[in-house]
């Protein structure tokens, strides 16, 4: 018999970005709230403090801030015929661990999706007809519009503390910003960061080709900043330890810098760490949840936490896993296309060029995760899908994030990988290269999905989640298109040599090299209950007191880093709960 804790109004599963946002917003309603965090507590000092944090071997290579596969993992296969095997060594994506979650170790890149991305299916059908949609692509519209989300994007940008230059304020195009962005009601709360030399060179070349470079927006503070909760950031010193690290400088946007100390002051909010939620418990009628059962690491026992409202705010993979384990939404079946939970798992399609210069010096000791310049000229809304033969787009950028010696030493192809030849290569080329990357959309497909693994179980005896995922021709065509579009920019930059890495037709998904921790879908939002797991307010269609936050809601992945949309949706949900749900708990759609 599990121990039972005192009932709360709200239980939040996971204390990262979305858990902190919902916690803060609902705490203002006076509700009694508890957040359950699987990992440990962590804060700028002592956990991220200088110089212990800037240890590339410990955090960059040995992934000190990430979840350990022995704690929690999933199985992966590339098609329905393969047997999925456990992801025993982190590679392709890196789910975070501890309070703050991925929000502590991200690069800070923050975007709003392009206008075309909210109603992408309609956009395609209206412009080119449904005929261009590949047979197995499950292209969808978001059930929420940009206009509905706009105030929440703005709010998240102000809370998170984003630096950038607006390109379109209420329809007026602003020089220096992204002219292709959706119209925003206000500028970024902080001016854009200065760029390193590579970014500036890229911007100049892009401009000379008639493209529209703009400073890349991100949650890296360009000035001192105080947000609406009174939380603070200090100006960044460009040390180059963003992704995979916690910021020792209070300069990176994170739950720690933006929300948590303010949340800790709320007497009606508390959180427990070492509390891994095992399942959501359901009422007998099956229409509502009664709370969650978690494993108390300290006491080594299961605990039932009753609550009126259950917020799943863990990482996308964990949210979907909990839904599958708890019977929230019918599990998706690729053979029939029926079911919703686990449907439309998507990812990101990226590629890039590396340019080498014998006589140019790029100071590798400065950088930030959101450094440099981007262009959106080949963004999803700018491309004629009918002519190009794919659906999707990318933003393209240059700007070094770091010069960390173990992983950030690009070498020209053919340089020996070890021994004296390698040493000579490093000596010659360290600080003599720059890169241009494309960061692209990923559509959803019938056979890319998440379900429960039939074989492997975790330490609690629960089936692991199984990911079935592979690349599709549409994305490869998209990324090859980007390869062709970047080449003239790279050539204009006149490197001594250059090389590129873009996915090729027929290439299979490989979990070993790092790609991106932008796992999306599986708990997608939809207009009707038969299409997705949650409604436009991220409320579970079949359990009205369960809300599912995060990138699991994405119907397919956008061309951007997901955090901006995750934050915007979180404030959208928070507002719906505050203004519509609490006074009359019910399905909101």
């Amino acid at each position: 018999m599990a121990r039972q804790e005192k009932k709360k109004d709200v239980v939040i599963v996971g204390l990262g970005w979305t858990g902190s946002i919902i916690g803060m917003e609902l705490a203002q309603e006076g509700l009694e709230i508890v957040a359950l965090e699987r990992g440990h507590d962590q804060d700028t000092v002592p956990n991220f403090q200088y110089p212990q944090m800037i240890d590339e071997l410990k955090y960059g290579v040995r992934l000190g801030m990430m979840q350990k596969p022995r704690q929690s993992t999933l199985t992966i296969r590339r098609n329905l015929e393969e047997s999925a095997l456990p992801y025993r060594s982190l590679g392709s994506f890196l789910p975070g661990n501890g309070v703050g979650g991925a929000g502590t170790h991200w690069n800070g890149l923050n975007w709003r999706p392009m206008l075309a991305e909210y109603k992408l299916r309609s956009h395609v059908e209206q412009n080119w007809g449904a005929g261009i949609i590949p047979e197995d692509m499950q292209l969808m519209d978001y059930p929420v519009t940009y206009e509905e989300l706009e105030p929440h994007f703005a709010r998240f940008e102000r809370v998170a503390g984003i630096s950038g230059n607006a390109g379109n304020i209420n329809g007026q195009i602003i020089e220096g910003g992204n002219p292709f962005e959706a119209p925003r009601s206000s500028d970024y709360p902080m001016p854009a960061m200065p760029s390193t030399y590579d970014g500036a060179k890229f911007a100049e070349a892009a401009k000379s080709l008639g493209l529209h470079p703009f400073a890349r927006p991100g949650g890296i503070a360009s000035t001192s900043y105080v947000n609406e909760y009174g939380m603070q950031m200090g100006p960044c010193n460009h040390c180059g330890f963003c992704e995979r690290y916690g910021c020792y400088q209070y300069s990176k946007s994170s739950p720690q810098t933006a929300i948590l100390d303010a949340l800790r002051k709320k007497p009606n909010f508390s959180y427990r760490t070492g509390a891994e939620v095992l399942r959501v418990e359901m009422a007998e009628d099956g229409k509502t949840a009664t709370g969650v059962t978690y494993y108390d690491e300290a006491a080594q026992e299961e605990v039932f936490q009753p609550a009126d409202l259950v917020i799943l705010a863990a990482y996308q993979l964990h949210n979907v896993h909990l839904m599958l384990l708890s019977g929230i939404g019918q599990p998706y079946d690729p053979r029939t296309g029926q079911g919703v939970t686990g449907k439309n798992y998507a990812y990101q399609m990226n590629g890039g060029y590396t340019l080498f210069y014998e006589n140019e010096v790029f100071n590798p000791f400065i950088g930030t995760g959101a450094n440099g310049f981007s262009i959106d000229d080949y963004g999803i809304g700018q491309i004629d899908f009918g002519t190009e033969g794919f659906i999707g787009g990318s933003y393209i950028s240059s700007g070094q994030s770091n010069g960390q010696p173990i992983r950030s030493m690009p070498l020209p192809a053919g340089t020996p990988a070890w021994g004296q030849g390698w040493k000579d290569g490093i000596k010659k080329w360290y600080g003599h290269s720059m890169s241009i990357g494309s960061h692209g959309s990923h559509m959803a497909y019938r056979n890319n999905y998440l379900d429960l693994d039939p074989t492997y179980k975790d330490r609690h005896g629960r089936p692991l989640m199984r990911m079935t995922f592979n690349w599709h021709d549409n994305e490869v065509r998209m990324t090859q298109f980007m390869r062709e579009k970047i080449r003239p920019i790279a050539e204009a930059l006149k490197p001594d040599s250059m090389q590129d890495a873009f996915k090729k037709q027929g290439q299979m998904y490989d979990v070993r090299p790092y790609q991106t921790t932008h796992n999306t879908g599986g708990a997608i939002m939809s207009e009707t209950p038969d299409q997705g797991a949650v409604n436009k307010f991220s409320q579970a269609w079949d359990k009205h007191n369960v809300f599912v936050m995060g990138a699991g809601n994405f119907v397919q992945n956008t061309q951007y880093n997901p955090t901006g949309l995750v934050g915007g949706l979180a404030y959208h949900t928070a507002q719906a709960i505050r203004t519509q749900y609490l006074s009359n708990p019910r399905p909101l759609v």
């Binding site: 000092v45 001192s224 909760y229 200090g234 002051k265």
Partner: protein
Amino acid sequence: MKTFLRIIGALIVVCLAALLAFIFVPVQRTAPTEELAADWTPEAGQGEYVMYASDCMACHTAEGGEPFAGGRSILSPMGTIWATNITPDKETGIGNWTLDDFRAALYDGLTPDGRHLYPAMPYENYRKLTEEDVRALYDYFMNEVPAVNNPVEATALSFPFNMRFGIRAWNWIALSDPAGSAYEQSTPQERGRYLVESAGHCGACHSPRNVFMGQDGLTADDANFLKGGEVDGWLAPALMGEGSAAATWPVGEIATYLATGRNSHSTANGEMSMVVEHSLQHLTDEDNLAIAAFLKGEDVGEATLLGTDLALEEAENDHPTTTMLTEAKDLSEGARLYLDNCNACHFVTGKGAPEIFPELAGNSLVTADQTGPLIGIILHGAEVPSTEKRPMRLVMQGYAERLTDEEVAEVASFLRTAWGNDAPAVTAADVAKVRAADSAH
């Protein structure tokens, strides 16, 4: 001869009688300074507010203890003084005290049985409280604070400080001003003056001490009032007059510092961070602005506390030190250590960044004669408390593990001469002393 002896004898008798009278004749208690109606009751929250303004919590609550249940040790040059239990517990607290008893403690430093309180209790300042505030505070402690039965260790100072009657003589000097005093509080500056001189007891730290260890200046009429003092090895900087922070910061910035422990220039540390945490953050914006206006000697005008949702650019500084650090060539050991350890936050300008990283250029703590605090912060870091308006707990980490005594001395000495700072060097021996003292704690 006989006459002489008689005179001597008489004198001895007179002296003895005077001494006995000095020891045993009860001290007169100060009467209420204003007659309030018998049925006068404070407004809701008024008593708690006076408590916050008076910072009763800071001394009368032990670390991790129940509020106001006493037991916190206060280190004084005379020995350890144990703060008493001031909850309304009848056995161990002040549950049996009458309003007159309570007032006598605040105004005259007397317990109900006529013993003298040690002046760690700032009755020099509390004696300026108005009768309304005394009544409100009494009402709060009797009716709103939960009684806690918590016997507190009795203060036992060594001879001669255990002779409490000696305080009577001290009081003749310290309490020479009349109690209560009729403060006008109609303008912000007047209100500010009242808060500073009475409840706020700012002078207890920020006024120098005279030869009798009393506050050298209890009101703005006194020359040395708030001209800077020293508390437990920490510099309590001057709050008024030339060179003080109040003279250089605008009213809104001073008020922001009081309410949040941080502003565009500096952050609170040491004792002041506790004052912010337990007292000043709970005051209204009007009162913090009033205090600021009084300290600065100008009207509040349009001044407000710094708001939220705002980006603040850091200040520029083209001093030669800034140029030298930017070029980073042929650096002294101290300058190199600065770049490797401090520059990330405080920058080559030494200007830090508003509300988060304090300025080191022109920072009174950096250039103080007492080097203990500067060394202590480099070794052990500092912490700005979480406050209502700025909930972020800002922590500067310590460098005790990373830097040797010699290195700390180098970097401290560098700071004391950088960007126009002008103070003598710190030695490794100074650092060793602070390190040893802190590890003994």
